[in-house]
């Protein structure tokens, strides 16, 4: 479990490494990408839990962005698979708790719980992939700098950034501890429950110590709460074009249910 979480964390860092590529999307101002992603997230989660078909057109955004930014889809898909068990757990709970019949497909009864489960699944795929694509086209440090420019208190932005980095430290420490544990207890699969308390306690202390040392090393190189990046903030017409096009398209998808036309053709999902 911890090993798979570590791999997931490493994948996110690998995604961030793609943020230096030389494409139209990568050259856009990070603030534009952040704003469009935020708009996308707000629109996607604003749909009613029983609405599925209006979400379908929104898949055009991550797909289009991935193609234009030449982002490798595989790490995104694998990261999505990591969060999928949690979503499925919530989805199954919905199916159990909300059994009211919505409609039938042939002889198969479809409950509102099933519809809301699919809706949660789609929303998760859309929102997580949009955020991962944002990270793969703009480094977190650059995004953090933009948040500061938006007058969000620097202490909050710094907390956010250091937490992001701390997660990596935590997983690195966890990985070394798991390897050391496994090598000395080869017959056990994973960490025994009786060792879990000591393991987690040690992990917390070790990662806190290391985070502390990293912070001291940062201070020794002049860090005083502001993280500088190499990104030069220059606006150009492409930023406005991208923001305008994406903004209008997303608004159109949110206001006009294109999928209704498809529903009329197919008989509707609801």
């Amino acid at each position: 479990m911890i090993a798979s979480l570590f791999r997931a964390a490493t994948r996110i860092r690998t995604l961030e490494l793609q943020a230096d590529r030389d494409t139209f999307i990568h050259h856009l101002h990070p603030l534009v990408k952040m704003a469009v992603t935020l708009l996308f997230l707000v629109f996607v989660i604003s749909f009613d839990r029983y609405q599925i078909s209006p979400l379908i057109p929104f898949f055009l955004y991550p797909v289009g962005l991935a193609i234009l930014s030449e982002t490798k889809i595989r790490p995104i898909m694998i990261s999505l698979l990591t969060v999928l068990p949690f979503v499925l757990f919530i989805g199954i709970s919905n199916m159990v708790l909300d059994r009211q019949l919505a409609f039938t497909v042939g002889r198969i009864p479809i409950s509102y719980g099933m519809i809301s489960s699919v809706s949660i699944l789609l929303k998760t795929i859309l929102t997580v992939s949009a955020v991962l694509l944002l990270i793969s086209t703009a480094p977190v440090s650059v995004l953090a700098e933009q948040l500061t420019r938006l007058k969000i208190p620097s202490i909050l932005v710094l907390q956010l950034m250091l937490t992001y980095r701390y997660i990596a430290v935590l997983f690195e420490e966890a990985s070394s501890m798991v390897i050391a544990y496994t090598l000395r207890s080869p017959r056990k699969r994973g960490i025994a429950m009786r060792d879990m308390g000591v393991f987690l306690g040690n992990l917390l202390l070790r990662s806190m110590d290391r985070a502390d040392r990293i912070y001291h090393a940062m201070k020794c190189r002049g860090f005083h709460g502001k993280y500088h990046t190499r990104f030069l903030t220059r606006w150009c017409w492409k930023d406005f074009l991208f923001a305008g096009f994406c903004g209008l398209t997303l608004c159109f998808f949110r206001m006009v249910h294109i999928s209704l036309w498809l529903e009329q053709l197919t008989g509707g999902l609801r």
Binding site: L17, R213, C220, R230, L232
Partner: protein, 242 residues
């Protein structure tokens, strides 16, 4: 003609939170441009001394002067501009997503413009022979490569005083030789904590021997490192020659 001292420490004492005395009455001076090895057995206080000289571990009493200016609580926060410390464990120092960003981190904090940052980063990467690691993720490097990057990250800042904590650990022989040549070519005042006595003898003119938090001996490297009885008394030993 006397060479001015870059660093002067008088009676430095460090007491840990649990009451353990890590350093006691440590006094020494480093001439400007000199290279001094700080040697001692495990737990002698070498790392603590280096950390106390940059304010990470505050000293309880004593006086520290850098470039003739007394360092106090107010000036400690500005010490990073003059004194650069390479940490013992490179994993504690490298934290960015790319090697190039780690080298640029300190330079950007110095307020340099991007052209100058780029120039210094490239120059340092070439000097340390790690230009091929430029866009690699530090966490994916070998320990030796991480060590070279960590040293480069401090060298790029061009501090007047360079403190290095076990710089040869994790390095292969080729990287070690390169490090010796690089450090020998630098004009900075250097204080190098090391267990590698051959390295100390080959690079440093002076040696300070620490034992149990106290300075046991200070003098010329050639004299002290050939005094076997002193080395053994201080828990040190030269590596056997093959």
């Amino acid at each position: 003609m006397t060479i001015p001292n870059m660093i002067e420490a008088e009676g430095l004492r460090v007491v840990c939170e649990d009451g353990y005395v890590a350093l006691s009455d440590v006094s020494f001076s480093l001439e400007s441009g000199s290279r001094t090895a700080l040697i001692g057995a495990n737990g002698a206080g070498k790392s603590t001394l280096l950390l106390s000289m940059v304010g990470v571990v505050p000293y309880t009493s004593g006086v520290l002067r850098v470039a003739n200016a007394v360092v106090d609580k107010k000036t400690f926060s500005e010490l990073w501009k003059t004194v650069g410390l390479v940490f013992q464990n490179p994993d504690d120092q490298l934290f960015t997503m790319k090697v190039v960003d780690d080298l640029a981190f300190g330079l950007r904090n110095q307020g340099l413009d991007e052209l100058e940052v780029e120039r210094r980063v490239t120059e340092t990467l070439e000097r340390m022979d790690i230009i091929h690691l430029r866009n690699r993720m530090p966490s994916r490097l070998s320990l030796g490569e991480k060590r070279s990057v960590a040293i480069g990250a401090v060298l790029a800042m061009e501090p007047k005083v360079l403190l290095l904590d076990e710089p040869t650990s994790f390095l292969d022989p080729r990287s070690r030789s390169l490090l010796v040549r690089t450090l020998a070519s630098l004009p900075q005042t250097q204080l190098i904590a090391t267990h590698d006595l051959d390295f100390a003898r080959g690079l440093c003119e002076r040696v300070i021997i620490l034992q149990k938090g106290k300075v046991q001996a200070e003098g010329k490297a050639t004299d002290l490192l050939s005094d076997h009885s002193l080395l053994i008394r201080c828990g040190l030993e030269l590596a056997p020659q093959f």
